[in-house]
Symmetry: C2
Subunit: 193 residues, 2 copies
Amino acid sequence: MAPETSKARRKPRADSLRNREKLLAAASTVFGAGGGQASLEAVAREAGVGIGTLYRHFPTREELFEAVYRNEVDILHALAEELLREQVEPVTALQRWIHASVRLFATKKGMIEALQLATQASDELKTYSMDKMTGSIGMLIDRGVGDGTLRDDIGPEDVFRALVGIYYSQNQSGGPTAALRLIDVFVDGLRKR
Amino acid sequence: MAPETSKARRKPRADSLRNREKLLAAASTVFGAGGGQASLEAVAREAGVGIGTLYRHFPTREELFEAVYRNEVDILHALAEELLREQVEPVTALQRWIHASVRLFATKKGMIEALQLATQASDELKTYSMDKMTGSIGMLIDRGVGDGTLRDDIGPEDVFRALVGIYYSQNQSGGPTAALRLIDVFVDGLRKR
DNA sequence: TGATAAACGGAGGGGTCCTCCGTATATTAT
DNA sequence: ATAATATACGGAGGACCCCTCCGTTTATCA
């Protein structure tokens, strides 16, 4: 009983799921280091699986890109939830989250370029990540607004836009440290005074 | 006597020069069709020379790109001179030249992208092509201004910028015919009234 | 008409892409 | 537990590409 959609299916094999995770992680580091056009065989090697397994999971390079990207976004979302659960003080929570996201994407520069340029990132992906990101930010600032530590006239989208701006400025000059400094200034400005 | 700079050198071999031209032409068509990351072996095949010869002439992919690009720019410059020499009526001359340039670059889309993105096009190249292009345009409009068929308040740079704008708009939507139509409108606007 | 500097071609080592299929294993049914 | 089988796995293999190296050919020059 309870087939997902039709034709009672087995449940997915555990090793398959495991390998998928391994591939995602490997792709993240390999693309991060070697740019978006790094060898897929290198990814498989790093993941410790056969090349065939990689191709079964991600038939095209673009699909792998997309999956990795989605994964990063999901990780950030999970982090936001964790920060909330742990009752971290709102301003520091927000600060930590933003730092994490900057660091995460800073290393993925090449990958992001590849994504945008090569595949023109499907609209679906764009809205997906947009929603997740603003959602995460929203959760974090709401708490701060609630307890009066953060101003209430700045929406999640505004913060997100500011972030994107900083990603870019950082890609050009100054390196990641400069960006993180700017972040701190920005977050400080979000405090209610 | 008369060594070019020092150490009396032989003059370059004729076959070498010929092959260089063949390679340039081949690269132009191959990159035009298959995008900027097309195989260099394909270029050599198309040119009918060995792969070794290609690498001797252009040690890196970027050097080949640059050379092809310079070559296209030079061709357009030569076309401008020819139109002048043949005393073609100024407005039609300008129109023809612009059409030619749009067509030439329209097929080279991938190549141009590759140039800009991959190698960040050396400043020297940029100013070189800028000068050549505005120079060509300058020659053509000067004649028109001289005989009173073209307005005299538009500089070559303005025309060039308009062109670039049209290259881009065309790359997105409508295809090359739409661009050519826009060109006609634009050139018509350049007429003295 | 040599001599010889210069250029040519392409084999070869190393790498990547992607497919295909025999083998191994997780699930499910008994 | 165990057998049956749907799934997933790994990696060999064919095709292509990069780039170097070097024996052979050829255009120049004396």
